[in-house]
Subunit: 218 residues, 4 copies
């Protein structure tokens, strides 16, 4: 975003430049394949400065993850309007999610692809964010169950699996939307709502799809 200014400047600014560059490179190459040299060059600074400010490759990567995770989480929280019904809340959250991932594709790649690939300690950072989001979705599902469906007492694991699958689908869709020209965040959110919400409704009203014995659906 804009050419990197050169010359002397305050630490905070330089640090931001470095994190910006690191997110680009880590997103493009992956943790292991990314080189501190390339990051420093893209940031427009020398390598020692990167180490002076960010300590190590590991710390730098962690800093990237945290910054991007915080930004994404904040974007989603900001997108949700608390007063609305649960389904609208979910939709708005999804829209904010897809909007943010579309605007920050490299950041999203760092979170969704690169960080999860590298075992500990990075996976743990992601797990925190993901747990947050899954909990948020789970809560929405339960609220909806209470509001709109007389609380059908869905089994714990079932709901966890559903939320997990929904989040997985959203994550997958985000990457797909980034890779597919012409897909707007609005469309992605609507698609996912269509795809998921109705199924949830059916499930909650005890019209589940039954697997082996019955011949077909409905």
């Amino acid at each position: 975003m804009g050419a990197v200014r050169t010359g002397r400047m305050p630490r905070a600014v330089r640090e931001r430049q470095m994190l910006d560059a690191a997110v680009q490179i880590f997103g493009r190459r992956g943790y292991t394949a990314a080189s501190m040299d390339e990051i420093a060059e893209l940031a427009g600074v020398s390598k020692p400065l990167v180490y002076l400010y960010l300590n190590s490759k590991e710390d730098l990567f962690t800093a990237c993850i945290r910054r991007e995770a915080a930004a994404l989480t904040e974007a989603v929280r900001d997108g949700v309007r608390p007063g609305l019904p649960a389904d609208r809340q979910l939709y708005e959250g999804l829209r904010a999610f897809f909007t943010h991932t579309a605007r920050h594709p490299e950041g999203w790649t760092v979170l969704h692809v690169q960080a999860r690939t590298q075992g500990e300690p990075f996976a743990a950072e992601i797990a925190v964010m993901r747990t947050d989001i899954v909990a948020f979705v789970t809560e929405l599902i339960l609220v909806d169950a209470r509001e709109a469906h007389q609380d059908p007492a869905l089994p714990e694991r079932e709901v966890a699996g559903l939320a997990e699958a929904l989040v997985g689908a959203a994550e997958s869709l985000a990457s797909w939307a980034n890779a597919t020209p012409g897909v707007t965040p609005r469309q992605a959110a609507a698609t996912l709502m269509n795809f998921a919400w109705a199924g949830l409704g059916d499930l909650m009203e005890n019209r589940p799809w039954s697997p082996p014995t019955e011949p077909a659906r409905r």
Copy 2:
């Protein structure tokens, strides 16, 4: 699986040992972090032999991807019974998919996580497999639309998005199931069917979830 035999033996066997080892190591460490030394050692051969048979690290990784992709695709195709209704076919395909990924977790990791992380030329290999599967799912959706819903003429992009999301959810669920003890392939497939199929049905019967104007659902 099974101790690696040493000493002279036919090329095909040796090659299989090498690919087995490579899949393990690539799955565990990622492409860049995996070392040819470790692979050769696990395969029980010397490094030059690996190069003699498989040319380079890149070729070796590509070979892994192709083998695992072919195995997975074949497993899914074998799992589907052509005569059944579309939803049953999809269910059986999912079950075969989850069964295979559960039985070959490192292979699945190579495909789902490691290969996609490394950009070209590996992403292309994955894209091929994914395209196959998405096409297969798309076809099932369309068949179902014709069979069970008088062909509601779903827009092309919509269906593509749905299939994409379904496959993404399946992929996500596969990794989640591998990481979560006690989840059987059967359960995973049923969960996903519950989650997705009903929503598809609603959509096809023109009861889509409507995003912005209406206050809530149904």
Copy 3:
């Protein structure tokens, strides 16, 4: 010794703080492994100030060597009482030597261990100090030879070797005493006198230990 004051203060004081810190660090880590960063931090000043006052790592180390060598030499000279007989003078000198090295172990390490390890130009600095001390000891031996033994005309090289060995033994003992709890400077000096002086006396009275032809001693 004493907390480092911060803020503005006269150059001489700052310089002393830096040299103090440098002696600590050089003594602890050795010349090459010591870092200017650590020295500046221990001195409580910024690195550029160290360079402003002391020019370079090499100059800083040289300054340390000179200061410590001067302090040690002065301590020994101050310990010797000129009027006494030669053996008493040597004893007092040794006692002052061991006292000083016990009180300034890092300074002694810098001189005895670190400076000699680093070849030119530091070894030369040490050589100066050592030459001084060896000359001093040589003089005492010769004076004693004249006073107490009718000048037995010891060969030049022999005396040089003896003084060298005596100084070497003293140096070795100093480090040993520093590393061995419970050894006082007084004990160290007495031990060395017992060990060395009698042998010198025998030698000067022409009762040398004869190496090859005779089967045994005396």
Copy 4:
């Protein structure tokens, strides 16, 4: 010793070449200042080969220390003739010691100067060798006390200090002899015997030099 052969050759030979080079460089520069590049170049091999065979700089240095310590110890043991009286044994041991250190000055520097400068784990390696030698000397002193002086029951610490000082003097003399042209190992050994043995004799026959109260010696 002799130009390093190039091209392919068995591991044992290469390893010896590398150790030879490493001893030279470590002796000349010290552990920290020595660079693996320089060692590899002097050994006539590439750096990776050094790492392949010797693992790390630390391991390489340790290997040098062990090899040189073993060689020195063996040389001294081979030089001593067990049947002779204690003083002759000590003389022969010293002569072998000075001969070896004169023939392998860099090895001696590594042991005496460089290894001791670098704290653990290298100091421990040296401590082992030194303990051996000090014990050897202590034993000779005690044997002599019994054989030639009716066992005057020297106090434990006194003897330890004496042996320590003798070994220290020998070590110091060895470095001095290496740095002083024209000094033969024979002369160095004789000098040290003259210097030390007579003093020991006086001490054991209760003619110690008495430090403070008496005016002078004898």
